[in-house]
């Protein structure tokens, strides 16, 4: 390989290598990549250090909003197995889509007393608000 080509190959390799390096740094960084679990998986595995994202459903009637409108606590259950639950406390902006039975994702860590303290709360925005049980409810109403 002649020297000119070598220069360009080195340049390309350099770009690729720094990008890979940056990715590794970013993922390894504390708070970088976050493990994503369902309530069941989270309870099954002893929670390690660091942040977790836990995915589940809001137990109907469990939402307790504090008067500020910015603090809420609720019980989240595993979508498939309603007996597996964790209690969640959250402070911050509560999304419009956060309601009973909504699919939610919380990010945070377990306090020693077994309450999950969430730093972020995401409620999936349903692309349409009609679901199978919604229709049943509508017919019942």
């Amino acid at each position: 390989m002649d020297r000119r080509r070598l220069k360009f190959v080195l340049l390309g390799t350099g770009v690729a290598a720094t990008m890979i390096f940056l990715i590794v740094v970013a993922i390894a960084k504390p708070g970088g990549a976050v493990y994503y679990k369902t309530v069941g998986e989270y309870l099954a595995e002893p929670a390690g250090k660091g942040n977790f994202r836990v995915n589940g459903k809001v137990l109907e009637g469990s939402i307790r909003r504090l008067p500020t409108g910015q603090e809420v606590s609720f019980t989240m259950h595993d979508g498939t197995n309603a007996s597996q639950v964790i209690r969640v406390e959250y402070r911050g902006i509560i999304p419009d889509t956060f309601v009973d039975k909504a699919d939610v994702v919380v990010e945070g860590r377990m306090r020693p007393d077994g309450v999950f303290v969430a730093s972020t709360l995401l409620a999936k925005c349903p692309s349409k608000y009609e679901s199978a049980d919604g229709q049943k409810a509508a017919q019942g109403a």
């Binding site: 390309g12 690729a16 960084k29 493990y35 009973d100």
Partner: protein
């Protein structure tokens, strides 16, 4: 109408299959008749697809709720524009729109090329025909918009967050971009298949490529704007998988647009260019797949569906067969020149390509990592925006620097005098900006430097990158000024020369300069637009201020240099929702004259499937023109009914949405605030007392993003404007190619 739609789609399937099969037979048998028939089949596919779209529109406009798709995405009360736009509100309709655009583009391709591009056309027809056939299979057998069900009195209606003007034009714009890349791809494949690897394929499709690149870019910006004004989180980009899906083909498409110039001028990078267009098209398909299949969970949360496997198979076929064809034809793609020096225009384009493709690759990796991780280790992982930012911002800044270098550095090998002539003054402009910005906040920068040094000394790489963040805005502004400097210097020289030669006035000379070389100056203007967009991103992400406060009517809240007073509220029941419109007045610093008044609304869209709620809502709507007090009480009653139902019926009682209130500072009278937004959204409003919780953002420079977008639109239009010189170039190239073939 539904039967008609079904039928039209089926005919479109037959026609598109014939377009693909017929052209292959035409190629094999060298039959001109077969080729002609296949080309006509493309036109027939377009006609049938448009008829199917028409049928669906009729179903929407006539409130035909026996159609499942209409039932889900429309309702009687839905305003007319949203009945029309609801066509692409869901999965099946989006695919229909995709197919509709594709068939129309394929027809334009046939009509404009069937006489002059006889060698490439059969293959190009095959590729587009096969792509159309794929979408027709999806629409006929997997995801049809014409599935019918029981007769229903009213529909569910479009998700309120989609009822927005920008949402009406953002998906079509994105799709125009995604789809238009099919045509350059088809011609690239045709040139490989026929071994006519000269420059006909990309010269013929230059406009298509620019068109695709333009609409994809504008679609991305429109999506950001929509997210900004509608979703109410004060931001416009979150590295969501769906956003990434549109960014990746745009990045690779941008790389293609640049590297193809090197082939045009120097006959180099031939393999690379074909590889790039293959990659761009594959990423367009992948983008649609990612958006529509629900493979990766996303805030957009489109329903998981069964089109995933079909898309996977199609994508695999496209990608691997094109790659195989490219490898078979490697010998035909010999470079006519070679890269001589690192300091040359060729090299700066190569370097720009490496960065663009590199960023696209990291975005692809990070977007699909959760999927890979789950497949390999069984553990789900998510990648947050900080990861994307850490990886991409440094390279994005490097890219911005090349935007300044690329167009002006000399071909082959830059001499010291070339560098001095073009870059000394711009570099000074950049350096002055950097020094000025750091002096303004000197103490903060010294602190940041000290922290950076500390992390580096402790070998804490991640920490160092965290501290580096403090410097990104200043570096971005300085680099941007450098780029603006290069364009400004070029303009200055050109104008001076014209005035000297032709004795024209200053504006005349500038206009003539730009008009005489539309392609080049269109490019420069696009670059200026890109710089302005970078400024917007840097300013709004680095200096955003946020606050949340609960206020009674009459109370005031201070944030940053602003004060906002909550003046009052008003209840309404219109269209398909009830809402509380809050009014606030905003002041800046000590100025007694208010900056402006802002209206922002918290809306509730009641689910009309509940009879009780529907009645209360209709009553409230009906009393809108009567006594205001009765009206208010009727609306309050709707809120009360919703609250009552909530406990019994679960979540489907209502959906909430917020109409954000924004005051843009676009007056040059206050230059320090130019482009700044004061952004207000009520998180909730008590219908009885008006007590409301506001989330407020001050977003400096955010309007630069949209202004940059407008500049970009202007530049892109200029560069594709019909140009006699360009046409001659294309004609010469075609002539040469034909001679070579003969």
């Amino acid at each position: 109408m539904n039967l008609f739609g079904h039928f039209a789609l089926f005919l479109a399937l037959v026609a598109s299959v014939w377009a693909a099969v017929g052209s292959v037979l035409g190629i094999v048998a060298r039959g001109r008749g077969l080729q002609q028939s296949a080309e006509r089949a493309v036109l027939a596919t377009a006609t049938c697809t448009l008829l199917a779209m028409g049928a669906l529109w009729v179903a929407f406009l006539t409130d035909d709720f026996t159609n499942d798709y209409v039932y889900h995405y429309s309702s009687r009360a839905q305003a007319l524009p949203f009945k029309i736009g609801a066509l692409w509100g869901g999965q099946a309709g989006s695919l229909l729109l995709w197919a509709g655009i594709l068939t129309v583009m394929a027809s334009v391709m046939v009509l404009t090329n069937r006489r002059k591009n006889r060698v490439l056309m059969p293959w190009a027809t095959f590729v587009t025909g096969a792509t159309m056939a794929f979408f027709m299979i999806l629409l006929n057998f997997i995801e049809s918009p014409f599935v019918t069900g029981a007769a229903r009195p009213d529909g569910v209606g479009l998700n309120p967050q989609l009822k927005n003007f920008w949402m009406m034009i953002h998906p079509p714009s994105l799709y125009l971009g995604y789809v238009a890349f099919t045509i350059p791809f088809a011609f690239a494949i045709a040139s490989l298949a026929t071994r006519r690897t000269g420059d006909i394929w990309f010269r013929t499709t230059r406009r298509w490529t620019l068109f695709a690149w333009f609409f994809l870019g504008i679609g991305i910006l429109l999506g950001s704007y929509w997210a900004y004004v509608e979703l109410g989180w004060g931001g416009y980009w979150a590295w969501d998988p769906v956003e990434n899906a549109s960014l990746m083909p745009w990045l690779v498409g941008t790389a293609f647009l640049h590297s193809v110039m090197i082939q045009e001028k120097k006959g180099m990078l031939k393999i690379w260019n074909v590889a790039l267009i293959i990659l761009t098209f594959s990423l367009s398909i992948f983008g649609t797949f990612l958006t529509r299949s629900g493979v990766i969970s996303s805030v957009h949360a489109f329903a998981t569906s069964n089109i995933g496997p079909a898309f996977g198979i199609f994508l695999g076929i496209v990608f691997f067969s094109s790659l195989a064809l490219l490898i078979v034809r490697l010998d035909d793609l010999k470079s006519e020149g070679r890269l001589e020096s690192l300091l040359s225009r060729e090299s700066s384009f190569v370097f720009n390509n490496m960065i663009l493709v590199g960023i696209a690759a990291t975005v692809l990796f990070l977007t699909t990592f959760p999927m890979l991780s789950e497949a390999v280790t069984g553990r789900k992982v998510t990648m947050g925006p900080p990861i994307f930012n850490l990886v991409n911002i440094p390279w994005a800044i490097a890219l911005l620097f090349l935007v300044g270098v690329g167009p002006l550095i000399a071909w082959r090998k830059a001499t010291a005098s070339n560098l001095k002539r073009n870059f000394v003054w711009p570099a000074v402009a950049g350096a002055v900006t950097l020094v000025a910005l750091t002096l303004v906040d000197a103490r903060e920068y010294v602190d940041a430097l000290r922290r950076l040094g500390g992390s580096l000394a402790a070998f804490d790489v991640a920490g160092a990158f965290d501290h580096l963040k403090a410097f990104y805005p200043a570096i971005t502004f300085a680099t941007g000024m450098f780029v603006l400097g290069t364009v400004g210097l070029e303009l200055h020289r050109g104008v001076r020369a014209r005035r000297h030669q032709h004795g024209e006035s200053l504006p005349m000379a500038a206009a003539q300069l730009v008009w005489r070389n539309k392609r080049r100056w269109g490019g420069y203007i696009v670059h200026v637009g890109v710089v302005v967009v970078f400024f917007g991103i840097a300013g709004s992400s680095a200096y955003q201020k946020e606050g949340v406060r609960e206020l009674q009517p009459g109370e005031t809240f201070k944030i940053d240099d602003y004060a906002m007073r909550y003046d009052g509220y008003r209840l309404e029941a219109v269209d398909d929702h009830v809402g509380a419109i809050t009014e606030v007045t905003v002041w800046y610093k000590d100025d007694p004259v208010p900056v402006g008044r802002i209206l922002a609304e918290q809306r509730m869209h009641p689910n009309m499937l509940f009879g009780e709620l529907r009645q209360a809502f209709l009553l409230a709507k009906a009393s809108a023109f009567g006594d205001p007090e009765t009206y208010r009480r009727a609306v309050e009653n709707v809120y009360a009914v919703m609250q009552g139902l909530e406990g019994r019926a679960g979540r489907e009682v209502k959906t909430m949405s917020t109409e954000v209130g924004i005051h843009e500072s676009l007056s040059l009278a206050s230059p320090s605030r130019f482009g700044e937004d004061f952004y207000v959204m009520p998180l909730w409003v008590d219908p009885g007392t008006g007590r409301a919780n506001f989330r407020v953002f001050v977003n400096p420079m955010v309007n630069f993003l949209w202004i940059g977008g407008l500049i970009l639109i202007f530049g892109a239009h200029l560069s594709v404007f019909p140009d006699a010189r360009e046409r001659r170039r294309l004609e010469t190239a075609m002539l040469l190619e034909e001679r070579a073939a003969a």
